[in-house]
């Protein structure tokens, strides 16, 4: 908050000692890595062997959505947590006021922005859908698709036509939980279908993964958008 003050508060000797300590740690780590350099192994071979059983052909998607889907579910929960907390702090209005005042808000958005939003939004939605679809085979997937979709929302916000005015809206809340919920429900459903948590039946694995990724895309877009709106100056308070 008051960066210049804290900077000068650290004495020169302290900074010097800190630098020496950090260099020491870096040297030890470098030595440890160099010491171990001959033991180069990785999981790539196992992933390649099991890839045909995963339902997708992109190894990254296979790891994220099948082999380590549990991790991805919890990572979505982290994003959800951030979105919920950002919205909560906004409601509290305890955030330092300078934070929100710094962003300059234009009451009358330029017509240029408006037409840009009008022309670009369909393209962005299309790109987002493509990224989602291609994720099964090539680099892409829910996180990328969600980010593109959220940026369409940000553009709409800047051009004066925000997608939502109230982040407590029940629709946005539903979107927020959709991604993590899809993961969790399908994991628990698999417990009933195949008897194992997160174990998709082989024939349906590809379809399940696409469905979960679609839900996750909408959710990620909503989370990023809510987090963005939370740090923007509100329109009611000039």
């Amino acid at each position: 908050m008051n960066a210049p003050d804290t900077d000068s508060a650290v004495p020169l000797l302290g900074r010097l000692l800190l630098a020496i300590a950090l260099i020491g740690i870096a040297l030890v780590l470098g030595w440890a890595l160099w010491h171990q350099a001959n033991a180069q192994t990785s999981l790539t071979a196992i992933v390649t062997t099991e890839l045909p059983n995963s339902g997708v052909t992109n190894p990254v998607t296979a790891v994220l959505l099948n082999f380590r889907a549990f991790d991805t579910m919890l990572e979505l929960a982290v994003l959800l947590l951030v979105a919920v907390t950002a919205g909560m702090l906004r409601e509290h209005k305890t955030a330092p006021s300078s934070f929100s005042d710094r962003a300059v808000e234009s009451a009358f958005p330029s017509p240029l922005l408006l037409s840009l939003a009008r022309d670009l939004t369909p393209v962005m939605i299309l790109v987002s859908a493509y990224l989602l679809w291609v994720g099964a085979k090539e680099p892409g997937g829910a996180f990328q698709a969600g980010a593109v979709l959220a940026s369409a929302g940000v553009l709409a916000h800047f051009s004066g036509r925000p997608w939502l005015s109230d982040h407590q809206d029940v629709r946005i809340r539903a979107l927020l939980v959709l991604g993590t919920g899809a993961f969790l429900i399908s994991a628990l459903a698999m417990l009933g279908v195949t008897g194992t948590y997160f174990d998709y039946p082989f024939a349906w694995a590809g379809a399940w993964i696409l469905a979960i990724e679609t839900a996750a895309t909408f959710s990620i877009a909503a989370m990023l958008y809510v987090a963005f709106c939370a740090v923007m100056p509100s329109r009611e308070r000039p």
Binding site: E75, A187, F198
Partner: protein, 490 residues
């Protein structure tokens, strides 16, 4: 449904259920407390089931049917089961307390329930996951939800404490992650059991262990890395302080225990354990002295946590000693559960006193503006357990610690523990003395005459936790049998 919830699938349920509760209470604009409360109660049942099922053999569950090293494996032995159990118990009582603490419909009440469910998800994940990276994700949820919970109390001070807590937690997470990256680079597996088989005592393992433990120590607030704790724990709302002190610190301590004694055993040296032990002793003395000097009630309780964390680490040299390792493990688990109950009770009682008196300045508290005897009774019992007097859980823990320390001739350790007990008595009696202070409050305290009534639920929940701490003193043998059924050390 019933057969799906028993056996190893239980482990998946213990994580899924709180997450489901969090999602439901986020989706519901109002009334988010109902899914959360349901989850907390069912979680308590599942935790009992887990304690019972781990008695015969540890449980193991490969998620998605993918075995390690490709997939993630959940694992539970009696140690994890005890941690899950105490988390479920303290969590349930604190939830009951929170019903009366937050005004229904207020923005902090609506935010509390989803965040608490996410915190519970993270706690259960940390106790059950057998995968180093999955633990990192769990640590992230734990830290972020804990920070968000601290911000529930309004005021710039709480926000500042939360921000510092966030930065410290991030630093800790990154240190941990760097250690995980080193291990993965060398051994191409993230599974803790596989790592335990292949790791030796090379430079890399030592560096990785040091990084991971350092990161976790920062989150566990071992002296001198405790600097963030007093403000964060004292500034948070009372039920949140109870959760942070009783459970969140224990989760990161549990991970240190696992890494040190299960996964990277060969890389862990006696010298390192001795260092942790010395820091623990310093924490006992420093925390207690600061608690003696504290001006405010919750600050005192928070500094007492710094001291109590010290006991957990003071045991490290004994845990490394084969002669007394078993007794020392019993002592650790008893410190963890007794402190969870006693400190939970103390923060809940402190919250009641703060509500009744309208402030927490120890110098201005008088018997006249305190809540009813139930809260004070809870405070007294919890205090006695923290001091380590019989017949409380704290006494059993300290007794086991002293016994093992004397057996190996660690007189210095025994001396510090006894001195810590005396100091704890001094700060606990600072609080209890207030209850008998019938002198009129200072004239400047006119406002305190309008005493707020504290609901019965809040008073009884504090007492129940304190009574559990007391019961732990009588039930030492059966509780330790639950833990010793199949020991982690082999």
């Amino acid at each position: 449904m019933s057969e799906l919830m028993t056996g190893p699938a239980l482990l998946a349920w213990l994580i899924s259920l709180p997450l489901l509760g969090a999602l439901a209470s986020i989706a519901l604009k109002h009334g988010g407390r109902w899914p959360a409360l349901t989850v907390v109660i069912v979680n308590l049942g599942l935790a009992c089931l887990l304690v019972a099922s781990t008695q015969s053999a540890p449980l193991r569950y490969a998620l998605g049917g993918w075995e390690a090293p490709l997939g993630i494996v959940l694992y539970a032995d009696t140690l994890s089961a005890m941690m899950i159990g105490i988390t479920a118990l303290v969590g349930a009582v604190v939830s009951w307390y929170s019903l009366g603490y937050f005004a229904p419909g207020s923005s902090s009440e609506r935010a509390f329930w989803p965040l608490w469910c996410l915190l519970l998800t993270a706690l259960n994940t940390l106790f059950l996951s057998g995968d180093a990276f999955n633990l990192y994700v769990g640590l992230e949820i734990l830290s972020l939800s804990a920070v968000a919970l601290v911000t529930l109390s309004s005021g710039l001070e709480a926000i500042q404490a939360a921000l510092r807590y966030l930065l410290v937690s991030l630093m800790g997470s990154l240190c941990y992650l760097l250690g995980v990256a080193l291990l993965y680079q060398a051994y191409a597996t993230l599974d803790l059991a596989l790592l335990a088989d292949v790791t030796g005592d090379g430079v890399l393992e030592r560096a990785a262990l040091a990084l991971m433990v350092a990161g976790l120590l920062l989150k566990t607030a071992l002296f001198p890395l405790h600097f963030w704790l007093p403000q964060a724990h004292a500034g948070a709302p009372a039920p949140v302080s109870a959760l942070l002190s009783a459970l969140v610190l224990k989760a990161t301590f549990y991970l240190i225990l696992r890494l040190w004694f299960d996964t990277l055993t060969e890389a862990a040296t006696y010298l390192g354990a001795l260092l942790l032990g010395l820091l623990g002793c310093a924490a006992i003395l420093w925390g207690s002295l600061q608690a003696l000097r504290a001006q405010r009630l919750k600050q005192l309780v928070a500094y007492s946590t710094v001291a109590q964390i010290g006991y957990l680490f003071a045991l490290f040299p004994l845990l490394n000693d084969p002669r007394v390792a078993d007794a020392a493990f019993d002592s650790v688990i008893y410190f963890v559960i007794a402190h969870a109950c006693a400190k939970g009770a103390m923060f809940l009682a402190a919250g009641n006193i703060l509500t009744a008196a309208g402030h927490g300045r120890l110098a201005d508290l008088r018997a006249a503006n305190l809540p009813s005897a139930i809260t004070l009774f809870a405070l007294a019992i919890a205090g006695v357990s923290l001091i380590g007097l019989p017949p409380t859980g704290g006494f059993i823990a300290k007794w086991l610690l002293l016994q093992s320390a004397l057996q190996v001739g660690a007189w210095w350790l025994a001396g510090v523990v006894l001195l810590g007990g005396l100091l704890a008595a001094a700060y606990v009696f600072r609080v209890l003395a207030v209850c008998f202070d019938v002198s009129p409050p200072p004239t400047s305290m006119e406002a305190s005459s309008q005493r707020t009534i504290v609901s019965a639920g809040r008073q009884w929940s504090a007492l129940i936790l304190a009574l559990v701490a007391l019961a732990l003193g009588f039930l030492a043998a059966p509780v330790l049998d639950l833990f010793d059924a199949n020991l982690v050390t082999d």
